[in-house]
């Protein structure tokens, strides 16, 4: 029997090739596939984690390649509780596209969605094109949490998802307290404070 207290839908976005699928696979399977094949037939991945004694199930959705030609379906964003916006620190272009992604989020995602910005591939130190401060500044200007990570070295990957799980759980619990009577299945009310989540391990740790 499945036993969990909360279920959250987390959605990854960002340019093609920034390592979204690798982040998901590293987190859910502990793998870093060298030759990244297409993820045929895989809709989302699941990982159940423990947050202060509660089992929390994370449903992590990947773009199914639709980001390659800027053609992500709106419904992909619709019921996400959290978004992970990923860029590649070795690709300035992937960073420069972030405003376009924010525009999509603004249009289609729930207004209370939590967004976290992740700069991936920090293991490729010599090829870095986007300094940590630049990422941090952008995140702060847009009310997002920020982390740099490496799917290859498993650096900060766990942190990204676990911080998100904690934040989502915290908000869900708060909601439970406030509304003790009946449960409303409307999209989670992940409230006001979500705009300024402070994450434990910030950019410098990379």
């Amino acid at each position: 029997m499945e036993d969990y207290k909360f279920l959250f839908k987390i959605v990854l976005i960002g340019n093609a090739g920034v390592g979204k699928t690798c982040l998901v696979r590293r987190f859910t399977q502990g793998l870093f596939p060298p030759g990244q094949g297409a993820t045929i037939g895989v809709d989302f991945m699941i990982k159940t984690v423990d947050v202060d004694g509660d089992k929390v199930k994370l449903q992590i959705w990947d773009t199914a390649g639709q980001e390659r030609f800027r053609s992500i379906t709106q419904s992909y964003y619709r019921s996400a509780h959290a978004l992970i916006l990923v860029y590649d620190v070795t690709s300035r272009e992937s960073f420069d596209c972030l405003p376009e992604w924010l525009k999509e989020i603004e249009q289609y995602a729930n207004q209370q969605v939590i967004t976290v910005l992740v700069g991936n591939k920090i293991d490729l130190t010599s090829q870095r094109e986007v300094p940590p401060e630049t990422g941090l500044q952008f995140a702060q200007a847009n009310n997002m949490a920020f982390l740099e990570a490496s799917a290859k070295e498993a650096e900060n990957v766990e942190t990204v998802f676990m911080d998100l799980a904690r934040e989502l759980t915290k908000n869900a619990r708060k909601y439970l307290l406030r509304n003790t009577e009946t449960v409303d299945p409307n999209i989670t009310e992940i409230t006001g404070e979500t705009t300024n989540i402070s994450y434990g391990g910030c950019c410098g740790s990379g």
Partner: protein, 737 residues
């Protein structure tokens, strides 16, 4: 993005409407390599749903003179193409859908909330009729859009309108105080959530209200007690909530809260689309709300139609005698084929006369003919019985009406199929289409396309929505029909009720017309518009311009549209803004009557058409699929992500485990939808009523890893799965607060 597309596919699909998207998903699902293109920068083509900005852009595009001119000049002879090889010719593909005509837009409120009350309601005709000059109409419309943008900027952030009521001012200041939208949202949502929980009770009450009211207006004797209630009820709405006075500025500011549908269709609870969503597991991508009430216009009043057994029994609107008659007749309709003697000789005769012959009272005839069968004036008995049966069979599966409404609008549905196609390696590219089709002269087969970026891409099959068919292959004067559409923003509901409703209403054909007008009313709860506003969609078979077809119905529902001040006495909705247009309808046409000389490996799909449901699109996609992939299963259940088997070595293999598919199909049907149904029944169907999440709870034994390592082969039994799904539904609810 300058990314090159792969150059070889099994099938290229042009257009992301319903039928094309279902077909694309089905092809990808059985291993075909699919390229799916759309020349628009949005999904769903003629089935799209837009926010306010998107709708304005769409309107501008439809009326842009350059586009119109291009369309007329385009594609009258074979084109030169540098990408051709020996023995090939090229056909140019239209770069703009030519499916919309007679678009007219009207604004009935001020641009800004600044003028003092007397000037309040000025009606501006923004677009002239097509006949009066397409060009000037288009210019005006653009101007209109520009002006409004300017004025929005001019108003700036949080400048309080001079004449705003104290409440409005207070509200504005409040929201300005908040640093961002999220706080605002939270604040606004709380009362509604409570309301939604009370919905069940509210529904009951409301039903009774309307029934009591009905008793009065029907010929049945009325008691004085009921009369008093009526008086109370009448005086209530204005006291309860004065409708907000909207300006265009308000609408512009709330652009993102609109979801406005080009084709406001509904799903029959037991219709083919619902079945397909379930069996294919595509239901995990979409969310629905139950259509909560069906109204009918009887003697100038809007009345709630008793459709379910319980409704009929509890209805005070129909007399005891009528109840018996209605029950008996509806029970017969559910399986009318079993009792041919009941309608022998009537099959091809008018349904209206048949109903008379059954000695049903005029009220009951009205209900059955207009509200349940939603029949055209000249419908035959067989047609009438069939539609009545379809309605009744879908009743109760997901609520007290037969219909479901897709949250965020029907434009989401084609995208769900696109997602499934993409998950199975389909490649998606909006804003790009075929510029030319490459035809092999000898075999008259389509070998591929040259896309708008100049790249040559080959394929074995071409699927295209009708508006992509080269002009060279179209017959002159095809026997096409049209759909007349009207979209109205209003300041209150057609029929006030305690809880917000999703309403379907069929307005009987007016004098001299054969076709009923269908109205769908949506509010904030359906994600259609900001709070306090309603969107009413009118749809009918087109006989002339949309405005001419729909205005008589609009006049019955709304305050006069002639631009006079709002009637403060009237409790009818005031129209704030509206647009009319005609959509080309080829759903009833045989392809051979529309196209000629089309290569045999090109298949063509229709647009939305006038029907309320999705049957036509599903049937079309299915039969085209059978033609293209004979013997293959049409959209089998996609593996549940939790049943996927991972392999330790080179990455992993995707779960093609046949057992998992079988399983999901087995326990997919009811277990997945039951939780959904429960929620819908509670009337709390909300934003994340997601089948996918329910399904996700099903049968997983993942523990901390969340992955059924190897154990995934041993799929949970059907029964177990069902139990889990129920439990999971509760958990999901918890998680979703």
């Amino acid at each position: 993005m300058a990314d090159e597309l792969p150059s070889e596919f099994d099938a290229i699909v042009l257009g992301t409407g319903m039928a094309e998207s279902i077909l694309a998903a089905a092809l990808a699902r059985c291993g075909q390599k699919v390229l799916h293109l759309d020349r628009n920068d949005y999904y769903s083509g003629g089935w799209a749903t837009f926010n306010w900005d998107g709708l304005q852009r769409w309107i501008t595009r439809q009326t842009h003179p350059a586009v119109q001119a291009m369309n007329e000049a385009e594609g009258t002879k074979p084109v030169e193409c540098s990408k051709l090889e020996e023995g090939e010719s090229a056909l140019s593909v239209p770069q703009q859908a030519n499916t919309i005509s007679n678009l007219e837009m009207f604004t009935y409120v001020r641009e800004k909330a600044e003028e003092p009350p007397p000037e309040e309601k000025e009606a501006q005709e923004v677009v002239t009729d097509k006949e009066e000059g397409q060009t000037s109409g288009a210019e005006e419309i653009q101007q209109q859009i520009h002006t409004t943008e300017d004025s929005e900027q001019a108003t700036g952030l949080g400048e309080s309108p001079a004449d705003a009521t104290p409440e409005e001012l207070a509200k504005e200041t409040e929201s300005d105080d908040k640093s961002d939208d999220r706080c605002d949202e939270k604040k606004e949502d709380s009362p509604e959530e409570k309301k939604q929980q009370e919905k069940q009770d509210g529904l009951e009450e409301e039903k009774q209200d309307s029934q009591e009211k009905g008793t009065l207006e029907s010929p049945a004797p009325a008691s004085s007690v009921v009369q008093q209630e009526k008086v109370q009820e009448k005086s209530e709405p204005p006291k309860k909530m004065e409708p907000k006075k909207w300006s265009m500025d308000d609408i512009h500011k709330e652009w993102r809260r609109f979801n406005i549908d080009l084709s406001p269709k509904m799903l029959f609870g037991r219709g083919s689309l619902v079945e397909l969503l379930i069996t294919s597991n595509i239901s995990r991508y979409c969310e629905f709300k139950a259509v909560s009430r069906i109204l009918t216009l009887l003697n100038g009043q809007l009345e709630q139609v008793p459709c379910s057994r319980a409704d009929v029994f509890s209805s005070k609107f129909v007399t005891v005698l009528e109840k018996r008659m209605l029950m008996k007749f509806l029970t017969f309709c559910v399986e009318y084929e079993q009792h041919p003697e009941e309608y022998q000789g009537w099959e091809e005769k008018p349904f209206s006369e048949y109903l008379q012959s059954r000695q049903l009272t005029p009220n009951l005839q009205h209900f059955i003919f207009h509200a349940i069968a939603m029949a055209t004036r000249d419908a035959t008995t067989l047609e009438g019985l069939k539609s009545t049966q379809r309605f009744l069979r879908s009743l109760g599966r997901y609520g007290n009406t037969p219909f479901l409404w897709p949250l965020y609008g029907p434009g989401e549905l084609p995208q769900c199929f696109c997602r499934m196609c993409a998950v199975f390696a389909g490649i998606y590219c909006l804003r790009r289409a075929a510029r030319e089709l490459i035809i092999d002269k000898d075999s008259n087969k389509c070998k591929g396309i040259v896309c708008t970026e100049g790249q040559r891409i080959s394929c074995r099959w071409m699927v295209m929505q009708g508006s992509y068919v080269p002009h060279m292959c179209r017959k002159p004067d095809p026997p096409v029909g049209s759909v007349s559409r009207g979209i109205f923003f209003t300041d209150r509901s057609l029929k006030a009720s305690e809880n917000e409703q999703i309403t379907l209403l069929s307005i009987p054909p007016v004098e001299g017309s054969n076709f009923p007008v269908r109205a769908v009313e949506l509010g904030n709860g359906a994600s259609a518009c900001p709070k306090g506003m309603f969107v009413v969609h009118l749809t009918s078979q087109g006989t002339g311009s949309a405005k001419a077809d729909l205005q008589p119905a609009a006049e019955k529902l709304f305050q006069p549209l002639d631009g006079e001040d709002a009637d403060t006495e009237s409790d009818r909705p005031k129209v704030l803004w509206c647009v009319y247009f005609n959509q080309l309808d080829t759903t009833d046409c045989d392809p051979s009557s529309l196209y000629t000389g089309l290569p045999e490996n090109i298949v063509v799909t229709s647009g939305p058409g006038v029907d309320l449901g999705y049957e036509q699109a599903v049937q079309q996609a299915r039969s085209l699929f059978e033609q293209m992939c004979p013997g293959e299963e049409f959209l089998p259940a996609a593996p549940n992500p939790e049943d996927i088997i991972y392999e330790d070595d080179d990455g992993y293999k995707s779960g093609e485990a046949p057992s998992s598919s079988d399983n999901s199909e087995e326990n997919g049907n009811d277990s997945e939808w039951k939780p959904d149904q429960e929620k819908l029944d509670e009337g709390v169907a909300g934003a994340s009523n997601e089948v996918s999440q329910d399904a996700a709870g099903e049968g997983a034994q993942g523990g901390d890893e969340g992955l059924p390592q190897g154990g995934g082969e041993e799929v949970p039994q059907g029964g177990e799965g069902t139990g889990d799904a129920e439990a999971a539904a509760k958990d999901t609810q918890e998680a979703e607060m």
